[in-house]
Amino acid sequence: MKNKNYMKLEFASKSTNEAFARVVVAAFASQLDPTIEEISDIKTAVSEAVTNSIIHGYENVEGMVTIESRIVDNEIEIIIKDEGKGIDDLEKALEPFYTSKPELERSGMGFTVMETFMDKLEVVSELEKGTKVRMIKKFKSLPNKE
């Protein structure tokens, strides 16, 4: 039997919700019996994407961030979306160490972290429309039986 599950979370783009978002995705992923390292990878990747939506997408104006997640067998898909200002030059944005906000002491490592800690990363962005980050991770463990 296929192990399947789905959830969607929307929340206000407040920096207090970065920790909340991590807890939610980690709790959802926990049904896959992940290792501590796998959970840490997912929490870090989610934290990067959610932080980006809050500080780059909405630039601290309040908007809504959406996280959608699907589990199929031992694979988790996580989509993090905002309707913020979007990314002008996506290729440059994806480069390690590039940041448009050095004054906020951003390291420019966000996308690199997501890419390294997850198995797959896709970014779609449109100026003035928003940004959508899609990540996939395959877990080593066998899924829990229902």
């Binding site: 920096s15 207090t16 970065e18 920790a19 991590r22 501590i36 390292e37 840490s40 929490k43 870090t44 934290s47 990067e48 932080t51 809050i54 500080i55 906020l104 002491e105 951003r106 390291s107 490592m109 966000g110 690199t112 972290v113 390294t116």
Partner: protein, 114 residues
């Protein structure tokens, strides 16, 4: 996140407990800089052993303090032992410019000798 600040000689020791992300770095940054300048310290030692989460905001915070210290003729040291924190530190290339130690004492001994 809990931030514990302490000084030994010309070192400011910054100990984090809990989770260091964008939200909590914002809280920590001002306090660290205030102590650094008010107490006229030269070096900063980041003790990350009791941190159970850090994302790239933490890298940004450490790199920012690295610049401040360099401008003031000082250095930055990292104390770390958790493998999850190690992974993001290594990935960020921060170890090319900042040295990591297993304990605070091993740094203090080293700088006394040096």
């Amino acid at each position: 996140m809990r931030l514990i600040l302490d000084t030994i000689d010309e070192n400011l020791i910054v100990k984090f407990k809990g989770e260091l992300d964008h939200h909590t770095t914002e809280e920590a940054r001002n306090k660290i800089d205030m102590w650094y300048f008010e107490k006229r310290k030269k070096n900063i030692i980041f003790d990350l052993r009791e941190l159970n989460f850090m994302d790239s905001s933490g890298i940004g915070l450490i790199m920012g303090r690295y610049k401040t210290c360099k401008e003031n003729g000082g250095e930055v040291f990292i104390v770390s032992s958790s493998s999850n924190i190690e992974r993001i530190l290594r990935m960020s290339g921060i170890y090319k410019i900042i040295s990591v130690y297993p304990t605070v004492d091993s740094i203090l001994e080293n700088s006394l000798e040096g």
